[in-house]
Protein backbone atom coordinates (compact mmCIF):
# COMPACT_ATOMS: atom_id res chain seq x y z
CA UNK A 1 0.00 0.00 0.00
CA UNK A 2 1.43 3.36 -1.03
CA UNK A 3 1.37 6.64 0.88
CA UNK A 4 -1.12 8.02 -1.63
CA UNK A 5 -3.52 5.16 -0.93
CA UNK A 6 -3.18 5.73 2.78
CA UNK A 7 -3.83 9.44 2.36
CA UNK A 8 -6.85 8.79 0.17
CA UNK A 9 -8.33 6.28 2.59
CA UNK A 10 -7.71 8.18 5.78
CA UNK A 11 -8.59 11.65 4.58
CA UNK A 12 -11.65 10.50 2.69
CA UNK A 13 -13.46 9.15 5.72
CA UNK A 14 -17.11 10.12 5.77
CA UNK A 15 -18.34 12.09 8.76
CA UNK A 16 -20.92 10.72 11.14
CA UNK A 17 -23.86 12.89 12.14
CA UNK A 18 -24.48 13.42 15.86
CA UNK A 19 -27.83 12.10 17.07
CA UNK A 20 -30.77 14.51 17.16
CA UNK A 21 -30.80 14.72 20.96
CA UNK A 22 -27.12 15.48 21.29
CA UNK A 23 -27.39 19.25 21.70
CA UNK A 24 -30.23 18.89 24.21
CA UNK A 25 -28.24 16.34 26.18
CA UNK A 26 -25.19 18.59 26.32
CA UNK A 27 -27.22 21.64 27.30
CA UNK A 28 -29.00 19.68 30.05
CA UNK A 29 -25.62 18.62 31.41
CA UNK A 30 -24.36 22.21 31.19
CA UNK A 31 -27.41 23.53 33.06
CA UNK A 32 -26.96 20.89 35.76
CA UNK A 33 -23.33 21.91 36.01
CA UNK A 34 -24.27 25.58 36.25
CA UNK A 35 -26.80 24.96 39.01
CA UNK A 36 -24.30 23.03 41.14
CA UNK A 37 -22.27 25.37 43.38
CA UNK A 38 -18.60 25.37 42.51
CA UNK A 39 -16.26 23.83 45.08
CA UNK A 40 -14.50 26.45 47.17
CA UNK A 41 -10.89 26.57 46.04
CA UNK A 42 -8.13 26.20 48.61
CA UNK A 43 -7.04 29.70 49.67
CA UNK A 44 -3.44 29.43 48.50
CA UNK A 45 -3.16 33.21 48.49
CA UNK A 46 -3.61 33.28 52.25
CA UNK A 47 -1.89 30.00 53.06
CA UNK A 48 1.31 30.45 51.07
CA UNK A 49 2.88 33.27 53.12
CA UNK A 50 2.26 31.28 56.31
CA UNK A 51 3.72 28.11 54.82
CA UNK A 52 6.73 30.00 53.50
CA UNK A 53 7.34 31.66 56.87
CA UNK A 54 7.00 28.34 58.68
CA UNK A 55 9.48 26.65 56.34
CA UNK A 56 11.89 29.57 56.67
CA UNK A 57 11.80 29.45 60.47
CA UNK A 58 12.24 25.69 60.54
CA UNK A 59 15.15 25.70 58.09
CA UNK A 60 16.83 28.64 59.88
CA UNK A 61 16.48 26.84 63.19
CA UNK A 62 17.99 23.63 61.83
CA UNK A 63 20.84 25.50 60.15
CA UNK A 64 21.56 27.29 63.41
CA UNK A 65 21.61 24.00 65.33
CA UNK A 66 23.92 22.38 62.76
CA UNK A 67 26.28 25.32 62.83
CA UNK A 68 26.44 25.28 66.60
CA UNK A 69 27.10 21.56 66.69
CA UNK A 70 29.77 21.64 64.00
CA UNK A 71 31.62 24.50 65.64
CA UNK A 72 31.35 22.86 69.01
CA UNK A 73 30.28 26.21 70.33
CA UNK A 74 27.41 24.99 72.45
CA UNK A 75 26.98 26.61 75.80
CA UNK A 76 29.22 24.95 78.38
CA UNK A 77 26.22 24.02 80.49
CA UNK A 78 24.72 22.01 77.60
CA UNK A 79 27.88 20.34 76.34
CA UNK A 80 29.36 19.76 79.75
CA UNK A 81 28.56 16.08 79.68
CA UNK A 82 30.95 13.93 77.59
CA UNK A 83 28.10 11.49 76.96
CA UNK A 84 26.04 14.24 75.35
CA UNK A 85 29.02 15.19 73.19
CA UNK A 86 29.38 11.59 72.04
CA UNK A 87 25.70 11.40 71.22
CA UNK A 88 25.83 14.68 69.30
CA UNK A 89 28.90 13.56 67.35
CA UNK A 90 27.23 10.25 66.50
CA UNK A 91 24.04 12.01 65.46
CA UNK A 92 25.99 14.37 63.26
CA UNK A 93 27.84 11.54 61.54
CA UNK A 94 24.62 9.75 60.51
CA UNK A 95 22.87 12.95 59.46
CA UNK A 96 20.15 12.96 62.10
CA UNK A 97 19.43 16.61 61.40
CA UNK A 98 18.50 15.91 57.79
CA UNK A 99 16.44 12.93 58.85
CA UNK A 100 14.58 15.10 61.33
CA UNK A 101 13.98 17.71 58.66
CA UNK A 102 12.69 15.08 56.23
CA UNK A 103 10.41 13.63 58.88
CA UNK A 104 9.08 17.03 59.79
CA UNK A 105 8.40 17.92 56.17
CA UNK A 106 6.66 14.58 55.60
CA UNK A 107 4.57 15.06 58.72
CA UNK A 108 3.63 18.56 57.62
CA UNK A 109 2.62 17.47 54.12
CA UNK A 110 0.58 14.54 55.47
CA UNK A 111 -1.21 16.86 57.89
CA UNK A 112 -1.84 19.40 55.16
CA UNK A 113 -3.21 16.78 52.75
CA UNK A 114 -5.45 15.30 55.45
CA UNK A 115 -6.75 18.74 56.23
CA UNK A 116 -7.43 19.51 52.59
CA UNK A 117 -9.30 16.24 52.08
CA UNK A 118 -11.17 16.72 55.34
CA UNK A 119 -12.25 20.16 54.19
CA UNK A 120 -13.81 18.76 51.04
CA UNK A 121 -15.94 16.06 52.57
Amino acid sequence: MRHDDLDRTLSGEEDIVPSSGFVTGVMDAVRREASTPRPIPFPWKWALPGLAAWTFVLVSFLIAVFTQISRGAMAPSIVASPTLLTILAGAKSVGVGWMALALLMSFASVKLSTRLIGGRT
Binding site: D7, I16, F22, M27, V30
Partner: protein
Protein backbone atom coordinates in the same frame (compact mmCIF):
# COMPACT_ATOMS: atom_id res chain seq x y z
CA UNK B 1 -21.47 31.28 12.37
CA UNK B 2 -17.94 32.68 12.29
CA UNK B 3 -14.98 33.01 14.65
CA UNK B 4 -16.28 36.35 15.85
CA UNK B 5 -19.65 34.73 16.58
CA UNK B 6 -17.78 32.19 18.71
CA UNK B 7 -16.17 35.00 20.64
CA UNK B 8 -19.49 36.77 21.14
CA UNK B 9 -21.10 33.54 22.34
CA UNK B 10 -18.23 32.92 24.77
CA UNK B 11 -18.50 36.43 26.17
CA UNK B 12 -22.24 36.01 26.67
CA UNK B 13 -21.73 32.68 28.46
CA UNK B 14 -19.07 34.23 30.68
CA UNK B 15 -21.50 37.03 31.47
CA UNK B 16 -23.90 34.40 32.81
CA UNK B 17 -26.08 33.66 29.78
CA UNK B 18 -25.90 29.87 29.75
CA UNK B 19 -28.21 29.54 26.75
CA UNK B 20 -25.56 31.16 24.55
CA UNK B 21 -23.45 28.03 24.98
CA UNK B 22 -25.98 26.21 22.78
CA UNK B 23 -24.69 28.15 19.76
CA UNK B 24 -21.22 26.82 20.45
CA UNK B 25 -22.51 23.27 20.84
CA UNK B 26 -24.53 23.50 17.62
CA UNK B 27 -21.58 24.80 15.67
CA UNK B 28 -18.98 22.37 16.96
CA UNK B 29 -20.98 19.21 17.68
CA UNK B 30 -20.16 17.65 14.30
CA UNK B 31 -16.38 18.12 14.44
CA UNK B 32 -16.11 17.13 18.10
CA UNK B 33 -18.21 13.98 17.74
CA UNK B 34 -16.32 13.00 14.59
CA UNK B 35 -12.95 13.56 16.18
CA UNK B 36 -14.04 11.41 19.14
CA UNK B 37 -15.30 8.75 16.74
CA UNK B 38 -11.92 8.56 15.04
CA UNK B 39 -10.35 7.86 18.39
CA UNK B 40 -12.78 5.26 19.71
CA UNK B 41 -14.62 3.92 16.60
CA UNK B 42 -17.82 3.66 18.62
CA UNK B 43 -20.69 6.03 17.89
CA UNK B 44 -22.27 6.06 21.36
CA UNK B 45 -18.98 6.45 23.11
CA UNK B 46 -17.99 9.21 20.70
CA UNK B 47 -21.07 11.19 21.69
CA UNK B 48 -20.37 10.65 25.38
CA UNK B 49 -16.79 11.78 24.95
CA UNK B 50 -17.85 14.84 22.94
CA UNK B 51 -20.42 15.73 25.60
CA UNK B 52 -17.71 15.55 28.24
CA UNK B 53 -15.50 17.76 26.06
CA UNK B 54 -18.25 20.39 25.81
CA UNK B 55 -18.78 20.25 29.56
CA UNK B 56 -15.09 20.72 30.18
CA UNK B 57 -15.06 23.60 27.71
CA UNK B 58 -17.96 25.19 29.58
CA UNK B 59 -16.15 24.83 32.92
CA UNK B 60 -12.92 26.31 31.62
CA UNK B 61 -14.25 28.83 29.13
CA UNK B 62 -12.61 31.67 31.04
CA UNK B 63 -9.20 30.11 30.33
CA UNK B 64 -9.51 30.60 26.60
CA UNK B 65 -6.95 33.28 25.75
CA UNK B 66 -8.16 35.10 22.71
CA UNK B 67 -4.73 35.09 21.05
CA UNK B 68 -5.62 31.66 19.62
CA UNK B 69 -8.75 30.80 17.66
CA UNK B 70 -11.59 29.40 19.73
CA UNK B 71 -11.66 26.30 17.54
CA UNK B 72 -7.95 25.68 18.15
CA UNK B 73 -8.48 25.88 21.90
CA UNK B 74 -11.58 23.68 21.73
CA UNK B 75 -9.88 21.00 19.61
CA UNK B 76 -6.83 20.94 21.87
CA UNK B 77 -9.07 20.53 24.91
CA UNK B 78 -11.12 17.79 23.24
CA UNK B 79 -8.03 15.97 21.97
CA UNK B 80 -6.52 15.97 25.43
CA UNK B 81 -9.71 14.60 26.91
CA UNK B 82 -10.13 11.92 24.24
CA UNK B 83 -6.57 10.73 24.67
CA UNK B 84 -6.94 10.40 28.43
CA UNK B 85 -10.29 8.68 28.00
CA UNK B 86 -8.72 6.14 25.70
CA UNK B 87 -5.88 5.65 28.10
CA UNK B 88 -8.40 5.02 30.89
CA UNK B 89 -10.66 2.73 28.88
CA UNK B 90 -9.00 1.63 25.61
CA UNK B 91 -11.14 1.31 22.51
CA UNK B 92 -12.41 -2.21 21.92
CA UNK B 93 -10.05 -3.22 19.15
CA UNK B 94 -9.85 -6.64 17.57
CA UNK B 95 -6.41 -7.65 16.38
CA UNK B 96 -5.82 -6.88 12.73
CA UNK B 97 -4.86 -10.45 11.96
CA UNK B 98 -8.26 -11.58 13.28
CA UNK B 99 -10.14 -9.06 11.22
CA UNK B 100 -8.22 -9.95 8.10
CA UNK B 101 -8.81 -13.65 8.68
CA UNK B 102 -12.55 -13.33 9.42
CA UNK B 103 -13.30 -11.20 6.40
CA UNK B 104 -10.47 -12.18 4.10
CA UNK B 105 -9.90 -8.75 2.72
CA UNK B 106 -7.20 -9.79 0.34
CA UNK B 107 -7.95 -9.35 -3.33
CA UNK B 108 -9.04 -12.27 -5.46
CA UNK B 109 -7.95 -10.74 -8.74
CA UNK B 110 -5.73 -7.97 -7.50
CA UNK B 111 -8.74 -5.74 -6.89
CA UNK B 112 -10.24 -5.27 -3.47
CA UNK B 113 -13.52 -4.44 -1.86
CA UNK B 114 -12.68 -0.77 -1.37
CA UNK B 115 -15.10 -0.15 1.46
CA UNK B 116 -13.90 -3.10 3.50
CA UNK B 117 -10.31 -2.26 2.89
CA UNK B 118 -10.82 1.36 3.94
CA UNK B 119 -12.51 0.23 7.13
CA UNK B 120 -9.65 -2.14 7.78
CA UNK B 121 -7.07 0.59 7.28
CA UNK B 122 -8.90 2.81 9.80
CA UNK B 123 -8.94 -0.02 12.29
CA UNK B 124 -5.24 -0.43 11.74
CA UNK B 125 -4.72 3.22 12.71
CA UNK B 126 -6.60 2.65 15.98
CA UNK B 127 -4.33 -0.31 16.73
CA UNK B 128 -1.13 1.74 16.41
CA UNK B 129 0.83 2.79 19.51
CA UNK B 130 -0.92 5.90 20.93
CA UNK B 131 1.76 8.42 20.00
CA UNK B 132 1.55 7.50 16.33
CA UNK B 133 -2.20 6.90 16.38
CA UNK B 134 -2.93 10.36 17.82
CA UNK B 135 -0.77 12.14 15.27
CA UNK B 136 -2.30 10.24 12.35
CA UNK B 137 -5.85 10.84 13.58
CA UNK B 138 -5.30 14.57 14.06
CA UNK B 139 -3.39 14.98 10.79
CA UNK B 140 -6.11 13.42 8.67
CA UNK B 141 -8.91 14.96 10.71
CA UNK B 142 -7.46 18.40 9.96
CA UNK B 143 -7.21 17.67 6.22
CA UNK B 144 -3.53 16.80 6.35
CA UNK B 145 -2.53 20.04 8.06
CA UNK B 146 0.58 19.41 10.16
CA UNK B 147 0.35 22.77 11.94
CA UNK B 148 -3.24 22.15 13.04
CA UNK B 149 -2.37 18.64 14.23
CA UNK B 150 0.59 20.03 16.17
CA UNK B 151 -1.59 22.66 17.85
CA UNK B 152 -4.20 20.07 18.75
CA UNK B 153 -1.60 17.84 20.35
CA UNK B 154 0.49 20.60 21.88
CA UNK B 155 3.61 19.27 20.12
CA UNK B 156 6.23 20.96 17.93
CA UNK B 157 5.61 20.56 14.20
CA UNK B 158 8.90 18.70 13.79
CA UNK B 159 7.83 16.05 16.29
CA UNK B 160 4.49 15.68 14.55
CA UNK B 161 6.19 15.23 11.17
CA UNK B 162 8.57 12.62 12.58
CA UNK B 163 5.78 10.66 14.27
CA UNK B 164 3.64 10.95 11.18
CA UNK B 165 6.35 9.49 9.03
CA UNK B 166 7.08 6.67 11.47
CA UNK B 167 3.39 5.96 12.05
CA UNK B 168 2.69 5.71 8.33
CA UNK B 169 5.66 3.43 7.92
CA UNK B 170 4.43 1.05 10.64
CA UNK B 171 0.95 1.16 9.19
CA UNK B 172 2.16 0.52 5.67
CA UNK B 173 4.28 -2.47 6.63
CA UNK B 174 1.43 -3.97 8.68
CA UNK B 175 -1.07 -3.50 5.90
CA UNK B 176 1.30 -4.73 3.24
CA UNK B 177 1.65 -8.00 5.11
CA UNK B 178 -2.08 -8.45 5.59
CA UNK B 179 -3.49 -7.09 2.38
CA UNK B 180 -0.94 -7.39 -0.36
CA UNK B 181 -1.00 -11.10 -1.23
CA UNK B 182 -3.85 -11.87 -3.59
CA UNK B 183 -5.84 -14.90 -2.49
CA UNK B 184 -5.48 -16.64 -5.86
CA UNK B 185 -1.73 -16.75 -5.47
CA UNK B 186 -2.07 -18.95 -2.40
CA UNK B 187 -3.57 -21.78 -4.40
CA UNK B 188 -0.92 -21.63 -7.10
Amino acid sequence: MSASDDQTAVERVLAGEIAAFEQIVRRWQGPLVNLAYRFCRDRDRAEEMAQEAFLRAYRTLDRWRKDAKFSTWLFALATNLYRSELQRIPAATVSLEDVAEQRDLRPIDGGLEDEDRDRFVRRAVSALPPKYRDVLILFYFHDMDVAAAALGLGLPEGTVKARLSRGREILRSKLQRLLATPRMEEGL
